[in-house]
């Protein structure tokens, strides 16, 4: 957020601490959740992602901390039914009731005392939205993993929550099922303008769904910010090692020809390979080990379709090799061995040619 901009904050947590058996398992001085945005919590097991989600959802009483929701202070822990009726949560396990899919999706509405007629009108819309309308009358015990998680998501969305908390919602699913469900969830989150906080240990999941990303470690938020910023400029070694130092460039497809497409990114154009359509939003991810640096223009004998001239901004030693950040209109990170670095471009501020192959670009479709 640039200074001067003061976006509305939907949920604010301050001085949040959770202790378990004397040990501090969660320690978050401040966390803001902005409306209409998806925040991804990413981090290793035991980083405190689930604890944070449960605390924010009013399901776990923190040792200390204050919350304000829409500017109004809310009670921490399970006492605040009013707050719980304005949020929803989806767990890694579908946790369905022993009833039909329809009755499962209707559960939150029944709890709120919604009339039968209203339920009959609203529930089918959400069954449709999550592609499970044909399963309405089926027992929840007879669903596949993907169908069960769709039911669980529909049950959460049907109450039109102001924030939805998702605790590793796809971890238990096999890759094709997960892929389809992530695509649908991404679309539904955008269409319904739902604010969401989702934990994951999968970076691709975070990239596809999230606007902002918080990297957690040891109960603390190591870094929080827009997804591309966190990945392009990791604040510390942990974040860098966990999110994998990558260059992530949000862009839009300008043209497609023969499987190779050109995407406009801030400060340049990138050629990459992927199943995309013109006009579509994409994230172009380039791993630093795929970027070649040289002093010649153009580098002789290369098949790289992406060649940029830029200026070396920073050189960070990482043991056996160096991490070099090059400004080519956008920031590009490259790994270079110590020997190459010393012989070719020993200092920051020097001009350099950066190149990488179109096939080295990992393309993630994004609807925004």
């Amino acid at each position: 957020m640039s200074p001067g901009e003061n976006p509305a904050i939907l949920l604010k947590a301050e001085g949040l601490q959770v202790r378990r058996g004397g040990a501090l398992v969660l320690d978050i001085p401040v966390l803001d959740i902005f409306p209409d945005q998806v925040l991804a919590l990413i981090g290793p097991n035991g980083a405190g992602k689930s604890t944070l989600l449960l605390t924010l959802a009013g399901l776990l009483k923190p040792s200390r901390g204050r919350f304000s929701f829409n500017g109004r202070e809310i009670g921490a822990g399970r006492g605040d039914v009013e707050y719980r009726r304005r949020i929803a949560m989806v767990f890694q396990e579908p946790l369905l009731f022993d009833a039909t899919v329809f009755d499962n999706v209707a559960a939150g509405l029944k709890i709120r005392g919604t009339g039968r007629e209203e339920i009959g009108r609203v529930v089918p819309r959400y069954l449709e939205l999550f592609g499970i309308a044909h399963l309405a009358k089926r027992s929840a015990r007879k669903l596949s993993g993907g169908e069960a998680q769709r039911t669980s998501l529909a049950r959460a969305f049907v109450t039109k929550p102001e924030i939805i908390f998702l605790d590793e919602p796809f971890s238990a699913l096999d890759p094709p099922t997960r892929e389809a469900l992530i695509g649908d969830l991404e679309r539904i989150l955008r269409e319904t303008h739902t604010t969401a906080v989702a934990s994951t240990h999968d970076q691709t999941e975070a990239l596809r769904l999230a606007d902002r990303m918080a990297v957690m470690n040891g109960g603390k938020i190591a870094q929080i910010g827009p997804v591309a910023e966190v990945i392009n400029r990791p604040a510390d070694e942990f974040v860098a090692s966990f999110v994998g130092v990558e260059t992530v460039l949000p862009g839009r497809v300008l043209s497609v020809s023969d499987g190779v497409f050109v995407a406009a990114v801030e400060g340049g154009e990138i050629q990459a390979v992927g199943h995309v359509r013109t006009g579509e939003g994409v994230l172009c991810c380039i791993r630093p080990e795929h970027v070649t640096l040289s002093t010649n223009v153009p580098p002789p004998g290369t098949s790289a379709r992406n060649v940029f001239s830029g200026i070396i901004r920073t050189i960070t030693p990482l043991g056996l090799f160096h991490r070099v950040r090059v400004d080519c209109g956008f920031d590009l990170v490259a790994y270079v061995t110590r020997q190459s670095l010393e012989s070719l471009f020993p200092e920051e501020g020097k001009s350099v040619i950066a190149s990488f192959k179109a096939t080295a670009v990992h393309v993630i479709p994004r609807q925004t």
């Binding site: 929803a88 949560m89 396990e93 946790l95 009731f97 022993d98 709890i111 015990r141």
Partner: protein, 232 residues
């Protein structure tokens, strides 16, 4: 051998002609054990659910006591209920010793730990996050408890049937606190014991068959419940 065959023949005659005495004993048994089970259900499901969902110091001890209570010997229960209901006992003023009410009381004491113990296990066996999931759907505490109990309805039904199976076939406590008074506090088990000791094998076999049939139905339903696949 002839004794048994003749006994079985006469037993079926008694059952199918709806012999007044056999019918009366059967109905009293069902009524007494049914009421005792009902009482144990109300107490057992409430206490079992409460213990399963709460954390308090000494909880482990309470759970151990409930589990011990599940194998409470009926004669011991009979002994203590008799002492309590004895003319000079703490509950002597009720004047219900040697009445069907006393049997209901004793059987409720036997069945309650069984229902409590199985309820406790059933609620604890629900997925750990289910309670949080229900709360996150906006449920109040009472709605949450009700939905959890509903989710455990099959094992809870099993708990109730196990309680009923335990008391309908129990003889020690019934004979001690009920007195086996003909046409008044005589139930299937106490009558079977008495008729056998008197050598009236036909009636004893008839009563035995009815008891077996009851046990069979209870177990058949229990098996049916247990064989259903568990919800995810």
């Amino acid at each position: 051998m002839e004794l048994i065959l003749e006994g079985i023949r006469k037993a079926f005659f008694l059952i199918f002609t709806l012999d007044a005495e056999v019918l009366g004993i059967t109905l009293l048994s069902l009524k007494v054990s049914g009421l005792a089970t009902l009482i144990s259900m109300v107490i057992g499901i409430s206490v079992g659910t409460a213990v399963a969902l709460s954390r308090f110091p000494g909880r482990q001890l309470v759970v151990s006591l409930i589990n011990t209570g599940m194998s409470l010997p009926p004669v011991v229960v009979g002994l203590f209920v008799t002492i309590f209901l004895w003319r000079n006992g703490p509950l002597g003023f009720l004047e219900i010793l040697y009445t069907p009410t006393a049997i209901i009381l004793a059987q409720a004491v036997i069945a309650t730990p069984i229902v409590t113990g199985i309820t406790l296990a059933a609620i604890q066996n629900l997925p750990a996050n289910l309670r949080l999931q229900i709360l996150s759907l906006g449920a109040t505490r009472i709605q949450t408890v009700w939905m959890l109990v509903k989710e455990a309805r099959l094992p809870l039904l099993a708990a109730v049937m196990a309680g009923f199976g335990g008391v309908i076939s129990e003889v020690g406590a019934s004979i001690m606190v009920g007195g086996n008074i003909r046409g008044y506090s005589r139930v299937l088990t106490t009558a079977t014991v008495m008729e056998t000791s008197r050598g009236n094998f036909d009636i004893a076999i008839a009563l035995g068959i009815i008891l077996l049939l009851l046990a069979f139905f209870v177990n058949a339903i229990l098996t049916q419940i247990q064989q259903r696949e568990r919800p995810r």
